[in-house]
């Protein structure tokens, strides 16, 4: 598929920030499953952008502002041509051993509840186990915006039974690791089937490592494996490692964040899509 992405992140300050530094994981990498075309990173104020790659293989831009800033918008846009791989991530770009993704992090720390929940699935062979885990989370954690924050842990979300895609991913990761299977967080974009091209936030799902297959994408918020409607942007041990923007501002007060995101099928004229 040819997926067109236009993603703008705006930080506004009540009191102008003297200086802002941000690390941006907003730019997808090309692979056998996704060809990135005409990707642009733009800002609406004078800022320096430096491109690098982190240890997880993500493309990172570090942004530094050059003058007092009341409002800063970073806009990324471009096209990604995707191929369906039945959820399997093409091998060859991995920088880290899968074992690294057995690590606990603050957001994916396991507790009794996680271990009991995960144990329901452990009898199945690996692939089947993860499919069932995904379905189990899809059924146990209702999608609801506004009840969780980015600091909610997997264990808290499972106990609460509600959350957003990021929370579903964390629960999946914690449970997979609990079963001794490497798992990681993916932030990216989803071309929705319901025609809602304008979205409130970027998407997130999980990948688990299966010995004979490699990394496989599981989207527990939607209960399916990743397809050619998914664009992978960044991976990490959890949300924090793959977060689209992490930043600090000096002297700025009252920070507010607004996100504008449009993900559409580039082969279809706007407005033609079916629900």
């Amino acid at each position: 598929m040819r997926i067109s992405i236009d993603h703008a992140t705006t930080y506004a300050y009540d009191r102008a920030a003297r200086f802002i530094i941000q690390t941006l994981r907003l730019t997808p990498r090309s692979s056998e499953a996704q060809q990135v075309r005409n990707w642009r990173v733009e800002t609406d104020v004078d800022a320096r952008l430096r491109k690098s790659e982190d240890a997880f293989g993500n493309i990172v831009h570090t942004l530094y502002t050059e003058q007092p800033t009341q409002s800063l918008t970073v806009r990324v846009s471009g096209e990604v041509v995707t191929t369906d791989t039945a959820g399997v991530v093409p091998a060859g770009q991995e920088t880290l051993s899968p074992l690294v993704f057995l690590r606990d992090t603050a957001l994916t720390r396991r507790d009794k509840l996680i271990s009991v929940f995960a144990s329901e699935f452990s009898a199945w062979p690996p692939l089947e186990r993860l499919h069932r885990l995904m379905a189990g989370i899809h059924g146990s954690v209702a999608f609801e915006v506004g009840v969780t924050t980015p600091t909610h842990t997997a264990a808290e979300v499972l106990a609460l039974g509600r959350g957003v895609c990021q929370d579903h991913a964390h629960v999946f990761i914690a449970c997979a690791r609990q079963m001794g299977m490497p798992a990681r967080y993916v932030s990216g974009h989803l071309l929705r089937r319901d025609g809602k091209d304008d979205q409130e936030a970027a998407h997130a799902w999980a990948e688990a490592w299966i010995p004979d297959l490699g990394w496989v994408g599981f989207d527990p918020a939607n209960g399916i494996c990743s397809t050619d409607r998914y664009v992978r942007v960044a991976t990490g041990l959890d949300y924090r490692g793959a977060a689209p923007v992490r930043g600090a501002s000096y002297g700025g007060g009252g920070e507010r964040l607004a996100v504008r995101l449009n993900v559409r099928d580039a082969d279809m004229q706007q407005g033609q899509q079916q629900a």
């Binding site: 430096r50 690098s52 240890a55 920088t95 690590r103 600090a248």
Partner: protein, 470 residues
Amino acid sequence: MAFDEMSGDGGGVRESYRGLARWLADAPEGLLQARSRQAELFFRRMGITFAVYGDAESSERLIPFDVVPRIIGAAEWAGLEAGLVQRVRAINLFLADVYGAQECLKAGIVPAELILTNPHYVPEMQGRRPPRGVWVHIAGVDLVRTGEDGFYVLEDNCRTPSGVSYMLENREMMMRLFPDLFADYPVRPVETYADMLLSSLRASAPEAAGADPTIVVLTPGPFNSAYYEHSFLADKLGVDLVEGRDLFVDDGKVFMRTTQGRQQVDVVYRRIDDDFLDPLTFRPYSTLGVPGLMTAYQAGTVTLANAVGTGVADDKAVYTYMPEIIRFFTGEEPILKNVPTWRCREPEALKEVLSKLDQLVVKEVGGSGGYGMLVGPAATRAEIEAFRKKLINDPDDFIAQPTLDLSTAPTLDKGELHGRHVDLRPFVLSDPNGVRVAPGGLTRVALKPGSLVVNSSQGGGTKDTWVLDV
């Protein structure tokens, strides 16, 4: 009877202590006590001087000081030094490999999972090489002794080892209190430590920094228990003591705010743990670090001493593999011994440990400072049983070692000299030109009769450590 630093196994005074024995024999009664009181007074006064930075360190400084030096002869030291250099060289090579090609994991020298899931392994460092390739600029290696040739490494401290200020201050105090004793003894100077450290840090600066790199000491601030040492070291090095908020990162470089504007920083001797260094990479809400510091570090524009991720080399579980690590990376037999250790993660070892808990020391893999450990012979039945449960629940979290009969050294207690158990932490410096050991170290002494726990948090004191020239 434990080996005594002064009288060995009881057959008379050992060579290195003969001068002290003569001096003690000639000393008028009550002299040591008088000097000991004087020392306390001096330290208190200095404590007050230093209290200008806050109150925390005046209590910190008053860790008991024993006026009887611990003396190490030239030949013994030569052996220790060679062993320490070998060990720290291996640790640097090990870290370069863990964060690089991982040959030692592929060869099965250390289980890959133990390293890659270790809380102190920092994935963000994978594939990175710190400026000039140095990982552990400063190591503090804890040694104990059980006999004439029986030195054992208890722990390799490769993160932000502390205690060097005691080494320097204890010497200053001793020279003030016992000038006559120094006149008779060829004691190697430790005062050169600051110069050694400064030259090591300079030599480890990024190449672009030029001949006169800007160095700072980064402290978490006055509320940190080692703040006194941070300010002491900055002072001795003649460099700025900074907190995270004094630094910022712009365009991939680290800068310090000064009254003359921004100044680029080339080397950060950081006394902040990895987790707190950079809120954009690690713990997000930490205000102790510098946002973007890792970006600059990965761009190679700044040296962090020690490098990020070195904790994986001093982890207690990894420690047990150190002899194999030394053989693998140096091709040599380890000069210094490891304490024989049971890894409770291995079922056979766990079984054996559980069968003789009352004879062993059991330590939490991630613990430090003498907390979270069981000293079998000194524990009550109830304590042992409580620990048994912990061990069965989380065997991976524990290692066990025999209780070593640590050497004793004469120590002043109520006007009399008694043997008290001691350990030794020498400080080892690495830079691109090699590995060096400061001729001395921190001797910690368990002041309670018979006690084997030397940690200051558990009632330990310190002594000056003399390394002799001949």
